[in-house]
């Protein structure tokens, strides 16, 4: 821990000013909640992507959420959506930072799965960046070992 939290002081050359390079470490734990947990557990245990439906607004939210943003209703209708969808947009991240799921370059896309009203942000792979086209059909690829995380979907790849 001491090496991890090692600090460093830098004195500016032309002034009596010091710059302190340090770290703060406070572990955080976030709860997915009952609804979020069910969504993640369905990914883990059944390789199913689930959404919640608002019957009034005729919207299906993916990932599943507990509230309809438009009419404020509490949602309790669950339905499975397809693991196939349409690519709404995409980009590529070249720079690395400390919190990426895999090493860059990473292609990110927003995918509207068949049956969902919302877009899902995820990664794209098994494709050249130059060959990507908005409107492409893509399909989820699940990991072999899944833990109850959005990354249980490894990435989306183009439908042949």
């Amino acid at each position: 821990m001491a090496e991890l939290m090692a600090d460093r002081v830098e004195k500016l050359k032309d002034a009596d000013v010091f710059v302190y390079h340090g770290k703060i470490f406070i572990p955080n734990t976030y709860t997915a909640g009952a609804v979020g947990s069910r969504f993640l557990i369905e990914l883990r245990d059944h390789k199913k992507i689930m959404g919640t439906r608002c019957p009034t607004c005729d919207k299906v939210y993916v990932p599943a959420r507990s509230i309809c943003k438009y009419c404020f209703a509490q949602l309790d209708q669950w339905e499975e959506v397809s693991d196939k969808g349409t690519l709404l947009t995409y980009t590529v991240a070249g720079q690395s930072n400390g919190v990426q799921p895999v090493a860059p370059p990473i292609i990110y896309g927003i995918i509207q799965l068949d049956g969902a009203s919302t877009g899902l942000v995820h990664m794209l792979s098994e494709v050249d960046f130059e060959k990507l086209v908005i409107g492409m059909r893509v399909k989820a690829v699940f990991r072999e070992k899944r833990v109850g995380s959005i990354l249980d979907i490894k990435y989306f790849k183009p439908l042949a």
Binding site: L4, V19, F25, N28, T31, A32, S37, L40
Partner: protein, 162 residues
């Protein structure tokens, strides 16, 4: 009024843990910078005085908030001796984010009034709870190596006979 729902079997709840140190850079600026420099080079504490109300500003700063004036560079060298006003010590370990660990620094902390009249929160060398009750006059014990971190250049305050 909301009512609590009771589940019929124990549901599984997923938690996501994020435990990564976050790096930051913090500049002392000119006024704190002088304190850092004097501490690092000469093992002494300095601060500046407000030109209007003549109070010592501590920590040294660019403005006097009470007078709403720029503080200026009237620097005063301070003795590193003082009197313990109050102290406390950890019994139950607390998480210290600067060390990323529990009970990172085991010394008791105290509010110390330096002889020039300014207050400082720092450590006391004395760890014995009975002896702590009698600690009154203290003096800073400086690090011999690795200075350059402002008040962290002082290891703790040692009890002195005075």
């Amino acid at each position: 009024m909301t009512t609590e729902k009771k589940a019929d079997k124990k549901p599984e709840y997923i938690k996501v843990e994020i435990a990564k140190p976050r790096a930051y850079r913090w500049s002392t600026g000119k006024y704190l910078g002088k304190l850092y420099k004097e501490a690092m080079e000469k093992k002494r504490l300095v601060t500046n005085r407000c030109p209007k109300c003549k109070q010592l500003l501590w920590p040294p700063s660019a403005v006097c908030g009470r007078c709403n004036v720029e503080a200026g560079e009237d620097w005063v060298e301070m003795n590193d001796k003082g009197t313990v006003i109050q102290y406390t010590y950890l019994v139950f370990p607390l998480w210290d984010p600067h060390y990323g660990d529990r009970l990172a620094n085991p010394y008791p902390t105290a509010t110390i009034k330096l002889d020039e009249g300014v207050f400082l929160v720092h450590f006391l060398e004395e760890k014995d709870p009975e002896k702590l009750k009698k600690v009154k006059r203290v003096q800073a014990v400086w690090k011999e190596e690795g200075r350059g971190r402002g008040l962290a250049d002082i290891l703790y305050f040692r009890t002195i006979d005075e």
